[in-house]
C-alpha cells in the first residue's frame, strides 16, 4: 500500500491481523475509558471518588450512589451492548449480501421491530421486558421477510439501490401503521420513545436480558465468520468450495434478527451504526470476517457509548436522542457511499 502505483493494480484482498489485534485490544481499552466517562458525566454532578465508593462501599441511603449504580452503569453497559449488536448485525448483513448499503435500519428490520412493539403496547401493555423482546424479534423477522420478498420477486434481484428503496418504502409503510395504531389507542407517547431511540431509561434487567442474547449472537457470528469470508467471494465460488450457502445465510439471518431485535426492544430505532461500522472495520482490518466480526463489535460499542455521552452534552440538562447523534454521524457517510457506489448500482 505504501507504493503509490499499487493502487492502480489489482489490489489483492488482504487481511491485516496485526492492525486487527491492535483495534481489538486498544478498542477495548478505549471502550472501558469511555464507559467510565459516560458514568462520570451526567446531569447530577458526581465526582470520581463517589463513583469509586459506590462500587466498593455501596451506601443505599446515598442518592449519588443510587444514581451511579441504578442509572448510569446499566445505561453505559447497555449502550455498549446495543452498539456492538447493531454493528455485528450490519456486518453480517453486508457480508452475506455483498451489499454495501445493507444494515438493520436501512433494510426495514428496525421498522419491523418498532411496528410489533407498537402492537405489543396495545395488546399487552403490562408485558415483561422479555416478552417485549420476543415481539421485537418477530417484528424484525417481518421486516426482513418483506424486504427480501420484494427482492426475490423482482426480476433484477435485490440490487443495493433497490434494497435502500425497498427499505425506505417498508419503513414508511410500517411506521405509518404504527403511528395510526398509536393515535387510535392513545399510546403515541410510549411509541415516540422507540422512534427517537435512546438508552436513557435502561435498567439492570435490560442489561441482564441483553448480555446473554448478545453473547449467543456473538459466538454464532464468530463460528460463521469463516463461511462468510468465503461467501463474500460470491455465491457461486462459495458453492464451488463445497459450502452449504443456504445454511450459512439462514443461520446468519437468524443471528441478525436476534441481535437487532434485542437492540430495538431496549433502545428503539438507533440508525446508521450497522451501516457505518462494518465499512470502517473492513477498511481497517481487511477481508477476514474472523477479525471483522469482533472488531466491528468493539467499534460499534465504542461509537454508541460515545454518541450517548455526547447526546447528554449537546444541550444539558436535556437529552438529545442518541439516534439523532448517530444519524448526524451516519448521514455524511451514507452520502459518501451513495456518491461512490452510485456507478455500479
Amino acid at each position: 500500500m505504501a507504493n503509490p502505483t499499487s493502487e492502480h493494480l489489482h489490489t489483492k484482498p488482504t487481511s491485516r491481523p496485526i492492525i486487527a489485534t491492535v483495534i481489538l485490544f486498544g478498542g477495548l481499552a478505549v471502550l472501558v475509558l469511555s464507559i467510565g466517562l459516560s458514568i462520570l458525566y451526567g446531569a447530577a454532578d458526581i465526582d470520581f471518588i463517589t463513583i469509586w465508593h459506590s462500587l466498593t462501599q455501596f451506601d443505599p441511603s446515598s442518592t449519588s450512589h443510587q444514581i451511579i449504580r441504578g442509572l448510569r452503569i446499566p445505561r453505559a453497559l447497555a449502550a455498549a451492548l446495543i452498539g456492538a449488536g447493531l454493528a455485528m448485525s450490519g456486518t453480517l448483513m453486508q457480508g452475506m449480501t455483498r451489499n454495501p448499503l445493507a444494515s438493520p435500519s436501512i433494510m426495514g428490520v428496525t421498522a419491523g421491530s418498532s411496528f410489533m412493539m407498537a402492537i405489543a403496547l396495545v395488546v399487552m401493555p403490562q408485558a415483561s421486558n422479555f416478552i417485549m423482546m420476543l415481539w421485537a424479534f418477530v417484528g424484525a423477522g417481518i421486516g426482513v421477510v418483506i424486504v427480501f420478498g420484494i427482492g426475490s420477486i423482482s426480476k433484477t434481484g435485490l440490487t443495493p439501490v433497490k434494497l435502500a428503496l425497498a427499505g425506505t418504502a417498508v419503513t414508511a409503510l410500517l411506521s405509518s401503521l404504527s403511528n395510526a395504531i398509536a393515535i387510535h389507542f392513545n399510546v403515541a407517547k410510549d411509541i415516540s420513545f422507540w422512534y427517537a431511540g435512546g438508552v436513557s431509561s435502561v435498567q439492570w434487567m435490560h442489561v441482564q436480558i441483553l448480555a446473554p442474547v448478545l453473547l449467543i449472537g456473538f459466538v454464532i457470528a464468530l463460528l460463521l465468520a469463516n463461511s462468510i469470508t468465503v461467501l463474500n467471494l460470491g455465491d457461486d465460488v462459495a458453492k464451488g468450495l463445497g459450502q452449504r450457502t443456504f445454511f450459512v445465510k439462514f443461520t446468519g439471518t437468524l443471528v441478525v434478527l436476534l441481535l437487532t431485535g434485542a437492540a430495538v426492544s431496549v433502545a428503539g430505532t438507533i440508525g446508521f451504526i450497522g451501516l457505518v461500522i462494518p465499512h470502517i472495520t473492513r477498511f481497517l482490518v481487511g477481508v477476514d470476517y474472523r477479525w471483522i466480526v469482533p472488531c466491528s463489535a468493539v467499534l460499534g460499542a465504542l461509537l454508541l457509548v460515545i454518541a450517548d455521552t455526547a447526546s447528554r452534552m449537546i444541550n444539558p440538562p436535556f437529552e438529545t436522542p442518541v439516534g439523532t447523534v448517530t444519524a448526524l454521524v451516519g448521514v455524511p457517510f451514507f452520502l459518501y457511499l451513495a456518491r461512490r457506489e452510485g456507478r455500479g448500482m
Binding site: 435502500a164 446508521f272 436535556f318 451514507f334 452510485g342
Partner: protein, 338 residues
C-alpha cells in the same frame, strides 16, 4: 393530428370521470362523520338555504378542509410529475428525496424561534409559513443536487443522496422538536406526518396563490417537459436550453412541495403514485398528462382524508399516514415489477 385529437378526447373522458368521482367523494365526505349532512342538504346549504348548524359545519370546518385536500393533492402530484420527468427518474417524489423534510425542518425551526406555541399560529405566520417552508425546501433540493453532482447526475445517485438528506433533516427536526414543550411536540409530530384537520380559510388563502400560479405555469411548460423527457442530448439537439429550463421547472416543483408542506405537513407518495397512474391512463404527453395527474392527486388526498377521518372514528388518522399506506404499497409494487 388524428392521434392528437383521439388523445384529447380520451383525456376529456378521464378528466370528467375523475371530476365526477371527486364530487362524489366530496358529498360522501360530508355525509360521513360526527355531523352528517345529506347530499340534498349540502346543495341547499351551499345556496344559503341550510340550517344554521349545517352551514356552520359546512363552511367553517368541512369545506376549507376539502378545498385544502384538493389543492395540496394537485400541488404534490404536479411536483412529483415534474421531478420525475426532469430527472428521468420514475421514483422521484418530494417526500422521498428530502424536499418535504427540508421544508418541515424550516417550519419547525421558525416555530421554535418565533412562535410561543404551535396552537396560536398568528395569521401573519400563516402567510409567512409557505415562504419559510419554501426556503427549507430549496436548501434541501440544492443539497441533493450538489451532492449527487459528479460529472452530471444519475437518477440512482440522486435518489440515494435524497434518502440520505431526508434522514439528516429528520434527525434535525427531532432535535428541535424535543426543545418544544410536550403539547407542541405532539402537535408537531401530527403535523409532520401530514395533517389537515385544523384547517380554516386563512390556510386556503395562503396556499391558493401558489397553486393558482405555479400549476398553470407548469402546464404552460408541457412542451418543454416533453422534450426534456427525451433525454438531454435530444433535447439539446432540438434547440432547448436544457439547464435553464430544467432549473426553472425544478424550482416550480420545489415551490409547490414547499408551500404544500407549510400548510399540510409532510405528505409523501402523492407525487410518486399519481404520475405513474395517469401515464398509464393517458400516455406520456405532458399536455394531457399533467391535468390528469393534478386531478388524481386531488382525488387521492380527498379519499385518503375521508378514510383517515372515519375509519377509526372518533380518533382521526392524519391524512399523510393514510397516503403513506396506499402510496408505500404501490411503491413496493413498482419495485417488485422492475
Amino acid at each position: 393530428m388524428k392521434t392528437r385529437t383521439v388523445g384529447t378526447k380520451r383525456m376529456l373522458i378521464v378528466a370528467s370521470i375523475l371530476i365526477t368521482v371527486i364530487i362524489g367523494t366530496f358529498l360522501l365526505n360530508l355525509n360521513l362523520g360526527v355531523v352528517s349532512i345529506s347530499p340534498i342538504n349540502v346543495l341547499k346549504t351551499l345556496f344559503g338555504q341550510g340550517s344554521e348548524q349545517e352551514s356552520m359545519v359546512l363552511f367553517h370546518f368541512r369545506l376549507p378542509r376539502i378545498v385544502i385536500a384538493i389543492l395540496i393533492g394537485a400541488a404534490m402530484a404536479i411536483s412529483g410529475a415534474i421531478l420525475q420527468s426532469v430527472t428521468h427518474n420514475e421514483l422521484a417524489d418530494p417526500g422521498i428525496i428530502g424536499i418535504n423534510a427540508g421544508a418541515g425542518f424550516a417550519v419547525v425551526l421558525y416555530i421554535y424561534l418565533f412562535q410561543n406555541n404551535m396552537a396560536e399560529v398568528s395569521s401573519l405566520s400563516v402567510f409567512l409559513l409557505p415562504l419559510t417552508a419554501l426556503s427549507g425546501a430549496l436548501v434541501a433540493a440544492l443539497l441533493v443536487y450538489l451532492i449527487s453532482w459528479k460529472n452530471g447526475i444519475t437518477p440512482i445517485r440522486l435518489i440515494l443522496v435524497g434518502i440520505g438528506i431526508n434522514s439528516a433533516f429528520a434527525a434535525l427536526i427531532i432535535m428541535f422538536q424535543l426543545k418544544m414543550d410536550p403539547n407542541d411536540f405532539t402537535r408537531a409530530t401530527v403535523w409532520l406526518s401530514g395533517d389537515i384537520s385544523g384547517i380554516d380559510w386563512t390556510y386556503v388563502l395562503a396556499l391558493l396563490p401558489w397553486v393558482l400560479i405555479l400549476i398553470p405555469l407548469a402546464m404552460y411548460q408541457s412542451n418543454v417537459l416533453n422534450t426534456l423527457q427525451l433525454g438531454d442530448d435530444i433535447a439539446k439537439g432540438l434547440g432547448t436550453n436544457v439547464e435553464r429550463h430544467r432549473l426553472f421547472l425544478l424550482l416550480i416543483a420545489v415551490a409547490l412541495a414547499g408551500a404544500s408542506v407549510a400548510v399540510g405537513g409532510g405528505i409523501a407518495f402523492v407525487g410518486l403514485v399519481t404520475p405513474h397512474l395517469s401515464k398509464k391512463l393517458i400516455g406520456p404527453n405532458h399536455i394531457l398528462f399533467l391535468p390528469i395527474t393534478a386531478l388524481m392527486g386531488a382525488l387521492l388526498l380527498l379519499v385518503s382524508d375521508t378514510i383517515g377521518r372515519n375509519i377509526l372514528a372518533p380518533s382521526e388518522i392524519p391524512v399523510g399516514l393514510v397516503v403513506s399506506l396506499v402510496g408505500g404499497s404501490y411503491f413496493i409494487y413498482l419495485l417488485m415489477k422492475s
